[in-house]
């Protein structure tokens, strides 16, 4: 019996992209449902009643939520082309750094992104410290797990795209090739990789979206 796989996503969600890439890497066919988060479909709310967020993977009618949980589900269900390393210690490192990316790194990048000009230098300090840690992880490797793309590359994928968007909107250089040679190199390899590159959301649309978002934050933060 053919299995039915559906992915609920938005056009811009970096979390959903993780699953798009994972399914592509595994050659899994699926149906895409694009959501408008300002007007969520009854299906989305039924499959993810707790958070009402994307991505949601629905496999033969059973929903899986939270992108990193979904990645592990995909890897455990379709065992060919594994995303996570086999060794328990390396697997732990992958999970640790994926969580770091979503918590500490993302928070510090967001803080920098919405910082007023006078606060940018301070906000940049933490972001740069976190990026140094990521840089360390990439030493001697093309991708996070070695020669081929895996779980941690997909987990950091949002960053590969967002960093150039942030740099353009804010007119600053965050990841420069001198300070972050390995991270810069990873970004280049990742964004151009065959499985990855056709999935990026339209850049001009992303620039507008994040510009608007930034302006809203700055306006709200301005003392009246």
């Amino acid at each position: 019996m053919a299995e039915e796989v559906k992915l609920f996503r938005t056009w811009s969600s970096g979390y959903a992209l993780r699953i798009v890439w994972a399914l592509k890497l595994k050659g899994i066919e699926y149906e895409t449902i694009f959501e408008d988060l300002t007007n969520k479909s009854p299906s989305l709310l039924q499959y993810n009643p707790i958070h009402g967020k994307v991505p949601v993977l629905v496999h033969d009618g059973k929903p899986v939520c939270e992108s990193l949980v979904i990645l592990e589900y995909v890897d455990e269900t379709w065992k060919h082309n594994p995303l996570l390393p086999q060794d328990p210690c390396e697997k732990s490192m992958a999970r640790f750094w994926a969580n770091f990316g979503d918590d500490k790194l993302m928070k510090s990048i967001s803080q920098l992104f919405i910082a007023r000009e006078k606060d940018q230098d301070v906000a940049a300090v933490e972001a740069l410290e976190n990026l140094k840690l990521v840089e360390e992880q990439l030493k001697g490797k093309k991708f996070f797990h070695g020669e081929t793309i895996g779980y941690l590359d997909l987990a950091f994928g949002w960053f590969a795209d967002f960093v150039s968007i942030l740099e353009e909107i804010m007119s600053l250089k965050l990841v420069d090739g001198e300070r972050f040679p390995h991270l810069s190199s990873w970004i280049q390899h990742f964004i151009d990789a065959p499985v990855i590159r056709d999935c990026w959301p339209p850049r001009d649309k992303m620039i507008i979206k994040f510009q608007v978002m930034r302006e809203k934050y700055l306006a709200a933060a301005t003392p009246k």
Binding site: I50, H59, K62, V64, C65, E66, V69, I70, E72, Y73, E76, T77, P88, C89, K91, S92, R95, F96, N99, F100, K104, L133
Partner: protein, 224 residues
């Protein structure tokens, strides 16, 4: 069972360290325990978890694993007997989802409420109750998250069994409502009666006093 050089850096009052101690005990793994003074962290802790400098940290065969849920997965993968996670990928995803939910929603709500007073306290308690009610839905009417016996999610969430009740007492608020959350209340009883979990729960009076002390300190900080 000999645990080939297993050491845990922990803290008596940490729910996150309790997760790891529960997992090790459920699997019958012998280990060396080092109690950390969080106001004066050991060089070993700082060296083993340089990113967060937090407990728990599991040291095994010269490697260090940080982040409690990452440690639980590691333990389950290295010592495969008495598995914590179910075999089925969908059920594994559900266990991981609820463990994550607790960390993202219940922990901040329960911890955040400790320092609140008056209307803010009522609001905090209400929010915590909402998240606990949502958590209850994850039990799906069963006696525990693992189905018929303590599993990954029960180990991840088990600390709520003692902490929520003590917080109710210390702050004079309602969190676990027997009437409105009968399934969660029954789960708490089940966890507290489990022979392994019961022995590991920190002593009531010590936790109570610690919470009162912490509350007084935090309230003093906020009002200054």
């Amino acid at each position: 069972m000999a645990g080939e050089g297993v050491k845990l850096l922990g803290y008596w009052g940490s729910p996150f360290a309790l997760r790891v101690r529960s997992a090790l005990k459920l699997k019958g793994i012998e280990y060396e325990y080092q109690e950390e003074d969080l106001g004066n962290k050991s060089p070993l802790l700082l060296q083993s978890n340089p990113v967060y400098k937090k407990i728990p940290v599991l040291l095994h065969n010269g490697k260090s694993i940080s982040e409690s849920l990452v440690i639980l997965e590691y333990i389950d993968e290295v010592w495969k007997h008495n598995p914590l996670l179910p075999e089925d990928p969908y059920e594994r995803a559900r266990s991981r989802f609820w463990a994550k939910f607790v960390d993202e929603k219940c922990v901040p709500a329960l911890v955040g409420t400790i320092s609140k007073v008056g209307e803010e306290l009522e609001k905090g308690a209400r929010e915590a109750r909402e998240h606990l009610k949502t958590l209850e839905s994850g039990l799906d009417g069963k006696r525990c998250f693992g189905g018929t016996k303590i599993g990954f999610a029960d180990v991840a969430i088990g600390w709520i069994a003692y902490l929520a009740r003590i917080e109710q007492e210390a702050l004079k608020i309602q969190l676990i409502d027997q009437q409105n959350m009968p399934v969660l209340a029954a789960w708490i009883d089940y966890v507290l009666e489990d022979p392994v979990m019961k022995e590991l729960m920190p002593p009531h009076d010590k936790v109570f006093k610690h919470m009162i002390d912490m509350r007084e300190k935090l309230i003093a900080v906020v009002s200054n």
